[in-house]
């Protein structure tokens, strides 16, 4: 214990005791930058006695380089405790502080999240810092994590929607990090070494590449002092330069068929779309919402309400930083051990209906009413995604870490409202011009 305290005191001396406070556009959020480069965002929300803490490290698919899957292995390892914290002890600690703890890997970043009661802020910060600063990176633990990631990836490959989605994304981002399977390629995961995992951690888990956001029943000074105590130990270092992915070539293949041992048929059509860092992101979000966001969208009205063809359908528009994609999907169940197979719509009907909806974007200009509805729907659902402390802390840390600034969380609704009818019509007309289609069908 003495040596540990000594380490902390030394680290504090090295890091300096003062954190620079930056100007904040919203007085509710305070941004502090520690001398070692770590950014801290604090949003006090008094009243409920709860607190959410999120660390976002910009270490995703782009940073994995030639070792895709290494980030996921590290995420697994982080969950199993730190050098001075066994997995069981970590579980007990989380239990004792009364919260939840999770690690999420994403193509753009890794997120470590912890929620607890406000009274347990200090032990929660200690737990987070221990996990991030001194993870247990021994070969055995990495090997076990690698095995688990490979198993997860194989399990995901058996999931019809995920398999179809992965195939589609590989067509939309060929040879790019964003085009890799979301849960990694099991064969490539098996080749990742312990050294690569340690190197990934060493390179990217540096304070200048991290953001800690704390939202809840806390005071700024209280969080600042506790965070300084535990995160000030991180030595300052610069992350390596990251390669921004080049714009992928237009997908050119016809529909791709994926056969699965599954009971469902999925039709997925996708097209490249703007990334979060593009000023057209809000425009593309509106086009995606007109097509398949909500029950007043074209897909829902045309495919489900007017034709009664399928139950599950919609659009996906993942918020990737540099380049993203809009995916329109429809599910048509086919595995019916005791079900109404004869009354199900044919696969061809669903495919044709989905294609017609997608084509309507370029054939039938978006109306003023559709634009208004889509804008309100986007802004409203954006607010719905901020109802929980966890969501609010995550958004702040996420936007800040990706270089958009936490202020993006506040400005996005205004960005949406500022898009004009001419802009959405222009994007709607061209969005699916370069598209790909994947059909997931049950194996004969």
């Amino acid at each position: 214990m003495i040596s540990r305290l000594l380490c902390i005191l030394m680290a504090l001396t090295l890091a300096g005791a003062r954190a620079a406070q930056a100007q904040a556009a919203d007085p509710q959020v305070t941004r502090l930058t520690f001398p070692n480069g770590l950014r801290l965002l604090v949003k006090p929300e008094p009243g409920r006695g709860l607190v959410a803490l999120t660390v976002v490290v910009r270490a995703g698919a782009l940073e994995e380089g030639e070792a895709p899957g290494v980030g996921q292995i590290l995420a697994r390892v982080l969950l199993t405790g730190a050098r001075n914290l066994s997995e069981r002890k970590l579980a007990q600690l989380v239990d004792e502080v009364g919260g939840s703890f999770s690690v999420t890997w994403d193509p753009d970043y890794m997120e470590i999240y912890l929620s607890t009661t406000a009274a347990q802020l200090k032990p929660a910060l200690e737990l987070l810092a221990e996990t991030l600063i001194e993870p247990k990176l021994d070969a055995q633990r990495i090997l076990e994590a690698r095995k688990q990631v490979a198993e997860d990836a194989m399990e995901a490959a058996r999931n019809p929607f995920r398999a179809g989605y992965d195939r589609l994304v590989s067509l939309l981002h060929p040879g790019r990090p964003y085009g890799r399977p979301l849960l990694a390629d099991p064969d490539r995961v098996e080749q990742i070494t312990s050294e690569q995992v340690r190197r990934f951690m060493k390179d990217w888990f540096v304070p200048s590449n991290m953001v800690l956001a704390v939202v809840g029943d806390v005071r700024v000074e209280q969080v600042r002092d506790a965070a300084r105590l535990w995160f000030g130990r991180l030595q300052p270092a610069a992350a390596p330069p990251r390669e921004v992915p080049t714009v992928p070539p237009p997908p050119s293949s016809g529909p791709v068929m994926v056969e699965m041992d599954s009971g469902v048929t999925y039709v997925l059509a996708g097209a490249p779309a703007s990334g979060l860092n593009s000023r057209r992101y809000a425009t593309d979000s509106i086009v995606a919402a007109v097509l398949g966001g909500g029950k007043a969208s074209r897909m829902f009205q045309q495919i489900r309400e007017e034709q009664g063809l399928v139950y599950e359908l919609g659009t996906l528009y993942p918020p990737l930083l540099y380049q993203s994609h809009v995916v329109a999907y429809a599910l048509s169940p086919a595995y019916l051990p005791a079900g109404p197979r004869d009354v199900d719509p044919s696969f061809e009907q669903v495919r044709a209906a989905l294609k017609a909806s997608v084509d309507s974007l370029s054939e039938s200009p978006i109306t003023e009413a559709e634009l208004t509805r889509a804008k309100n729907y986007l802004v409203g659902t954006f607010a719905l995604r901020h109802q929980r402390l966890q969501e609010r802390s995550k958004h702040l840390a996420w936007f800040e870490a990706l270089g958009l600034g936490w202020e993006f969380d506040h400005s996005f609704p205004d960005l949406v409202q500022s898009v004009t009818l001419a802009e959405v019509r222009e994007r709607a007309a061209e969005l699916f011009r370069r598209s790909a289609m994947v059909l997931v069908v049950p194996r004969e």
Binding site: G47, R76, L79, S100, D106, G294, F300, Q387, R388
Partner: protein, 463 residues
Amino acid sequence: MFSNLLERIALTATETKPSIRAFRRTPAGRARRPGAIILAMIAAFVARPSAADGPACFEKRLPNGVHLVVYADASLPLACVDVWVRAGSVFEKPGEEGAAHFLEHMLFKGTPANPRGRLDERIENLGATLNASTSRDWAHFHTTVAPQHLSVAIDLLADALQNPLFEEEEMERERRVILSEIAGRRSDPTQFLDDELGPRLYGSHPYGRPVYASAEAVSRIGPPVLRAFHNRNYVGGAMTVIVVGGVQPQQTLSVLERAFASVPEGAAPDWPEKPSPPEKPVVVDLPRAPDGSEWMIVGFLGPGMDVPADVWAMDVLISVLVRQSAGRLHDALVTQNKTAKAIDVSFLTQKLPARVTFTLVSEPGKTEENRAEILRQLDAVGREGVTEAEMEAAKRYLLGTYAFEVETAGGQAGSLGFYATLSSIRDSLDYTSHISAVTREDARRVAARYLRPDRSVTVRMTQ
């Protein structure tokens, strides 16, 4: 247990998300991303403190019987209106099987004032979506909006519930959607097993059939059946309207009163007879899932809200047995024996005895071994009880889960409406006290009474 089980067990008419959780739609580009890998460890909360000037709850009963509840909480940025109707599938008469769920679909298909499409357009112009689900005891309809849009949302929801059109052409189209929904449900091993378990556990009791009934039943339902079901069950005495958010209570009650005053007067339907547990163990073998994995469900008849003390004890007990990556059964089968890949537990509280189920995916050839181990462990709990440490961990987990459930306006409204429909809103407001009061002996007692190996029903997909 009121919980996110609602989402999984109840049938929803309005959700359009894919069945894979990680691939939820991200219309605003802000939700958890497709493919994000979430490695959750554990969740628990000691208690949920409240501010001195915290939430306040107001109730009013209209002359037609409609129960109004306003839960004013200034800390909530959004407001939710949630209408609960005691109109689940258990109230279907012979020939009406599947009507409760079909009706839920048709209630969003338009009214004279808001024809099809117009209702969705208007609600989405408020930045919201309409959602609904049906279970055995109830159906509920809800939306969450910015507080300034609340009165419009209340009016739209009230109109949809009171003035449905039941147009034949619309019904035909929606029938296909429902059949697609049923097919999708039956292609999911978890839901398929739950549906197959029902009649083996409950016999001919209406709790035993799936909420959607069957494809054949759905194919037979016409407008007269839906109208009859609607006229009989969507009456004042069966309806509770909840509003939660940073709202002005009296003003909100006035808006609700105006919107729901014209609901027909009438008493809620009577609950059916109490079901009886099977007299001997049942084991049923069915074909494997298409991917070859071995699934199994082991079910029991648990307590109902006619014996609330046993419900609270069962809520704690199932958290002792399985909770996320922990619990006695999880530790035994997944962590130590490594004979199961995953195990889940389910107990959605009902008015009358509800099913307690353990669903698992076994390692190849280990299904029977797992079944025997589950029954052995449950028998041991019934005889020897659980430890104090297990009780404390389970309670922390359960209370933590509940704290997160009611963190949002929708979650709080759901809890209030759920218990208002089955017993009283007091059971929602006092839920943490109920759980805290459960003793080790309570947990042992409900294990011995309800989770008896000689009254178990097992359905396996191993052939």
